[in-house]
Subunit: 99 residues, 7 copies
């Protein structure tokens, strides 16, 4: 898988957004504009953490496989193996979904 070969640097987190719902429950296909922006995502790779001026590393607060809530704006689109991923700073991720 693509994210196996890509290692984010510092406190960056690579996520894959959930698939947007393109069909209503009644079976009607939604045009792209009517599809809500997907803010839920799965963490697929994490950086080693940010480094302070003394060289101490603060690990990121999410783990690979966790489901997170992204902010509406921000993030950097990254294309790996023709698939869209997004890089966010650890501190910009709003929260995570726990069982």
């Amino acid at each position: 898988m693509a994210f196996r070969k890509f290692l984010p640097l510092f406190d960056r987190v690579l996520v894959e957004r959930f698939t947007a719902e393109t069909v209503t429950k009644g079976g009607i296909m939604l045009p792209e504009k009517a599809q809500g922006k997907v803010l839920e995502a799965t963490v697929v790779a994490v950086g080693p953490g940010s480094v302070n001026p003394k060289g101490n590393v603060t690990p990121v607060s999410v783990k690979v496989g966790e489901k997170v809530l992204l902010p509406e704006y921000g993030g950097t689109k990254v294309i790996l193996d023709n698939k869209d991923y997004f890089l966010f700073r650890d501190g910009d991720i709003l929260g995570k979904y726990v069982e």
Copy 2:
């Protein structure tokens, strides 16, 4: 409940605003524009606290269940189980109501 499954990151606080008064004491229904913006809210989930560059964690200053006063602007709307919640940074919450 939705907030049971959602854990804010860092010093973020998830709150649920009080319900706006939609009917006057005399029983007249208020249009949405006439309803005041609700600034009181109940804390439903809190992050573990902010992390400084040395890795120390500063816990947030409010607890789940506390009634807080929100600033008029700011905050991030979060929809969990079709219900509106808001995320605020701990430092942006103005105060809390104590018995």
Copy 3:
């Protein structure tokens, strides 16, 4: 009293402005525009103080009951029990009146 039930967070200070003079010494009622902006206020509640990244708390520099001078701009209006109060950061209060 309202401020008994409200606890400002961090270094916030809740004040109640002095009443504006609405009648001249000669007994003429002043229209609201002619009334000067009231910058003197009484401290009615104080937060526990600001917290630095190491968790140390710096208490605020004013006490409940003290008379303070507010800056002309800034502050957040807070309505408690239908009465207007204002929240200021401790560092934004210009000075206090001492006997």
Copy 4:
């Protein structure tokens, strides 16, 4: 005197500007526009000093009674007992006149 009753907070310094020259040496009265802006002032009250996040206090660098040079812009006008004073941050005062 007014400044006896007013205590600036933190590193604020209360000053009273020198009186502007309103009459030329030849005895001609100067209109207000022709009067230069007065930048010399006397310190009438000083705050206890700024507080760093660890709680240490750095005292201000001027003393009550000293003659100082003010920057052309900045400062906050304060009216005490119907007399104009100005508050400046200690760090904004340009220098002092010594005998």
Copy 5:
């Protein structure tokens, strides 16, 4: 080689972008506008690291020869021996490709 003679200062990283694909798989030559911006690059030289005010050096997080992902904007074009290179701050490089 050019990069042998050039040593970036501080936390700067000198990279050489991958060659843009100028011909489609079917053999059609692509005009420059249709060629995607190349964000993959090879590290050709690294600075000694950033220096904090105490004189401690934090080494950069990438090594010569590593394949990195560049941000879409930023970087400084450097021409060495008539060949284009780019300087990026270590902290601006998004991630690296590992085997």
Copy 6:
């Protein structure tokens, strides 16, 4: 002399610019616009140095009597005894001329 009576605060440096050349070598008087801006100056008074939040003082890097090079912009004009002086922050002075 004026600068004997004036003590700059913190890391401020009081300088007196060299006199602009108003006559060419051939004896032609230069209009003010044709006179270059004078960036060389003599240090006439220095502040005690900047104070960090812990109270440590960092002395300024120039001494009274030294010839310095000023930046083209910045500085505060100060009139002492009807003579023009300029205050610069120590860190804004570009360099000094040594024998």
Copy 7:
């Protein structure tokens, strides 16, 4: 030489740009607009280094005589003995050429 008499302050570095090529290899004189901006320079004087709030000095990272690569923008033109030099902050110099 001019730079012998001039000592940059703090982390400033005085450089002399390489001479622009004004004649092509074929002998045609280039108009000034066609001459590329010269970014290579020789270090002619360096400041003692920047001083942190505790008084520690961080020496600059280049030495007199070294060949450096300048950023395209920035720097302060300094005229010494009718010759153009440029002052750059140590941290703004992109890199140096080593043998």
